[in-house]
Symmetry: D2
Subunit: 379 residues, 4 copies
């Protein structure tokens, strides 16, 4: 793995590294950790990389790694830069033969995402988008339960992602995370909806198995002086007739990262909350609610494949993230060696999720601006 | 107290009786428990009433009780009939000198509610509407905390009321509760929104202290053949600039009566769930969340006045309901004896809550039918 | 009902009244609320009793009520005095034809309890001991599940009752509750173990269906100057081969009234906590844990009989207490009218529970004093 | 790192590897994964080790690695074999200059532990014992809170570790984990108490800061045919005057790995449960309970140092385990380079914890066999 971005002090870069190291399947062999060559070198040093493989830019990294022999050069890049620097390195990496792991949202705008899809198809490179929450075993279990029809036809989807960390004008102080995420030039046309709304959207479609067809959005800038939405709620209509509510906010003072989802069908419902990630509630119309737990023997092959420890040993965010990396690596390895990857391996977010996420951003911003209630979800 | 409606097998009539008996301040002295005189008599008998005070109709009850001497006749009526039989008995009772406790929603339509308000003002009769959830001590505490500005200016209100009991076409079988609640001739123009949406709306305004000014509603009939909405979600705008989301559904299979509210301000937030009714979470931007508990010494006078036992002895739905009755009785008694009731006593839902609740029903139905996103909340 | 003790400011007297009023089956007709005749009269007045039926002493009450005609005189006494004034009024009441509800623990010592048992047998009077926690519907459900063998043979019982209110030397200030409960002359030979340890013991035997045969107790006086134990833990052996741990403390600073029980059998286990009283967890060796909830249709007749509202409307401590009173009243009424009470009605704590509770106190104190590990549970 | 034991199918070996890889500070360079050389080689291959560094025995590994140049040879061994193969490899590794990470309990018996302590002192090698639970950030926070006197003098300690996986005679089937853990020849003189009781004991002493001085143990063999205890409860006395209860069981059917601790002092208490590992409850006598959360800014340096992600991103068992490895590695690195390790780094379980754990096993077994109540905790 070669990393683009994610130098010291970058929150998500460190998370990607932990996630990729955890299962002993992926090795960091090189990086272009910063647009500042000195910082990049320092980061590489602290990560025990040889000097020669800390590059001054991603362009240099891609070019030079390409020249290395097959067993030695990086197999894929992991891109963990702000949104406006997603497309170019991903494009260049794929066009030079490297697979790509990319932090969400996919690109700066929908147009770029569509182009990346084409490049991925043309180059045959494998693409993984890190929508972490669908890496949790009990989220996968929820999806399986619904896919198998256990709770009947889906009728209602509630998904919420409240955070509180942007309750003040944090971008006014020197907070790196807050600064780029609230900057239209780096984040894109949406703030909260791009940063965490896309996670909620992806979770809703992944778990329910249904696709959003119409939306009605209310986006707000709550904190004075902010340039992008920091709060929003969206009414949803799905292709199977279900309706739903998506809310995402970064000004719910006192909330941490409380993403959760409930889906109800004709016969029952499921409920999952990241703060109790190893538990999935399975509710029934006329029977006791069941508490399904990660690591147990009664779960689906998808949930089992994505857990490392027996029930009662909590796995968390980093393991969910690692599931994306490990499934991506298993798939890459299978494909590279001419094998057919298992269904459980290829179950990681890819190009299609990226496109829909970028479409969500564009649609939700457009809907928020119209006077019309229902806005068709367009790609 | 004289009861109108609430004969045997009536769910809410029994609840009203328990709630009124609990604190030993109110005695059931008469009733017109059913439109069927025989059933009314049987109900009266099982409630240990003398035969002479089980009346064949509410009209008879009001007329005959009025003739009894002051210490002997009922002081107020409790009306627990379906919505289409709220207005007439309430009007007649007030016009004949009796105070009124009325089950929510106030009336069959907004027009009746406005008229009842006038009658209440003209007759000086005291009126209590049983929005149970605002009777919980920790809901009162939440209101106080926000009113005192502890969490800063309110920015966001989430209120949800999911139930699952109407997930099937229950009105097709012989279920009395389901039948009238889904019958436009008895329930009014709304089903779910009238039955439980009004509770959620009342809770949101009571706790936040803000008033809804615009709404955007999505009402659904999910179960085939049903005549009124059984599900809905509403985006909210408040007079103080806050926004919110209200969801209410009766088709969330596996949910019981899971009403809950979260309100966030500039500095923190509160969270309350009926299923853990004696707990109020108080969240802070930079400090640990606090768990406030009913029955403790550190609460406001409002929370203290509405609890009967020391912390750790859970009080529930019936006690919350009893708080309405007892506060109503304390107020009636004070007024009747020329005293000024305490602020904590008069803090029960009244005419204004009733009017706004009926307006909610009419606005939410109208909003749901328009193509326009934001609908002005009109009274 | 005639009440002995429980005047103004008495915590448990008010609880008994609420519990007895709630279901509209019991009426307070007289009382001897205090050993001070003036205070008794004032209490009677505030409870809307006629002056003639506020008595100066329980002796007077029993004698005078006995002379009243059958339909008018009290049917039973409710005794809510400190422990040293349990035996004499209970004895006198039964010997004069009145049934008895008595606050726990039964008496001042085991000898008195045994004598009371004899009197109850001789007079045929019905006796109810208010071990509140076994009045909860989900505690009854737990007992039924175990009695029906669903979790297999019981192997392990954990019961805990932590409180924190005696963490300081509260009896040094003017706290009435603390004063008598820590006074060997009023409370008996045990403090914490008599006050709440007996509840835990009763709960353990009621739910598990097994009987304690050996104990190993560690009682402590944690707060300096206190005269009776305020903390303790007891290892238990049961007649069916199971073992267990009982802990009870009143110095767990920050705890309210956190009584809870877990029982494990060969195939599964149950878990109940008063702080979430409407929930019973049913755990299985190889299947998801089930969340059983009060008010649902799938419960046993015992749980159903003891709930008033549909699932999702929390009932609490006062309702559990009311279940004791209502079942007692139903039983008294059946017996008085020559009918056979239902099995669900007679399921309230009685003489045998009282005897075993007093034996628990005596055995646990004796065990705590010996150097020997296992102490035979003697009656 | 060179690993001893932990070949394919070994539960704890895989956990050690994940934990050591996670933070990118430790590399697996060699291993003697099985006493069967072929199996060892296969394991090495699947872990991407060169053939030359998969050794046939730990003796071979230690001897050969010692001959490699300093930068190339392993720095320490990680020993993850059953208890009877702890002492010899640890001794040999230290005597040959290697630091040691050792799975708990330290050794087969107390005598070996004492000897290992001497060897560690003589060789100056650093020793880490993997008592995972003290690696959790909120457990460290609990320890700090108590050490700083925030809850006052400690009075009461409750620690419990219920599991259910040995509810049946699993060792009768071909379960590798069950077999050695219930085999006196491999596990030592205790089963449940050695396997998980030692964790509970370590947690109790680590968090409370107090040392056990007397115990009263009740150990049981619940499942017929089993050779070692599978259940037990222990009354505790501490050197500061506090008392406590430790329970550990492997026959609580339906329990997963539900280890938890509560400690109460004069002014408040703490409560931590592994199943909600990122939360620490801080209870107060007269104030609301506070919910302290991992990843927040208000925690101690110890809690902060041991978390990787901001609040709301749950970290779990593997991260707690990784904290042991990373702190050990930081300490080793500091010591090897002549620096003073930070206080937060050296806060991992070591020789003293190992000795006390082995003493716990010996004392608890001895106590269980005597008729005498209190047994002095001897080392």
């Amino acid at each position: 793995m070669g990393m683009i971005g994610g130098g010291k002090d970058a929150f998500i870069g460190a998370v990607h590294r932990i996630a990729s190291f955890m299962d002993g399947q992926i090795e960091l062999v090189c990086g272009a950790f910063s647009s500042n060559p000195e910082k990049s070198a320092l980061s590489g040093e602290s990560l025990y990389l040889p000097v020669s493989r800390s590059y001054a830019s991603y362009e240099e990294m891609i070019q030079k790694e390409k020249l290395l022999p097959a067993g030695e050069r990086m197999d894929f890049v992991s891109i963990v830069t702000p949104n406006h620097v997603h497309f170019a390195p991903a494009k260049m990496a794929m066009e030079n033969g490297f697979h790509v792991v990319l932090d969400k949202p996919m690109t700066f705008n929908l147009q770029e995402a569509k182009e990346l899809k084409k490049i991925s198809e043309q180059t045959g490179r494998i693409f993984c988008l890190t929508h972490t929450y669908t890496g949790y075993p009990m989220v996968k279990e929820a999806r399986q339960i619904i896919a198998e029809g256990k709770i009947g036809k889906v009728r209602k989807v509630y998904v919420a992602y409240p955070q509180g960390w942007l309750s003040t004008f944090l971008e006014g102080s020197n907070n790196k995370q807050a600064s780029w995420r609230t900057d239209p030039g780096k984040s894109g046309i949406a703030g909260c909806m791009g940063d965490i709304g896309t996670h909620a959207f992806n979770l809703a479609e992944y778990v329910s198995g249904a696709r959003v067809t119409k939306i009605c959005a209310d986006l707000n800038i709550v904190v004075e002086g902010r340039l992008l939405d920091d709060d929003g709620a969206v009414l949803l209509k799905f292709d199977n007739g279900a309706s739903g509510v998506l809310s995402a906010t970064q000004v719910a003072a006192g909330e941490e990262n409380n993403v959760r989802i409930s889906v109800y069908g004709e016969k029952g419902g499921i409920e999952w909350k990241q703060e109790d990630a190893n538990t999935l509630l399975l509710k029934w119309l006329d029977k006791p609610t069941e508490i399904l737990r990660a690591g147990t023997g009664y779960l689906s092959s998808y949930a089992k494949h994505n857990a490392r420890t027996p029930a009662g040993h909590p796995e968390g965010y980093l393991e969910a993230f690692a599931n994306l990396y490990t499934n991506f690596a298993l798939t890459v390895n299978a494909v590279e060696t001419g094998k057919t990857p298992e269904l459980e391996w290829v179950d990681f977010p890819g190009v299609e999720d990226g496109i829909r996420g970028m479409a969500f951003i564009e649609n939700v911003v457009a809907s928020s601006k119209t006077e019309q209630k229902w806005y068709d979800f367009k790609i």
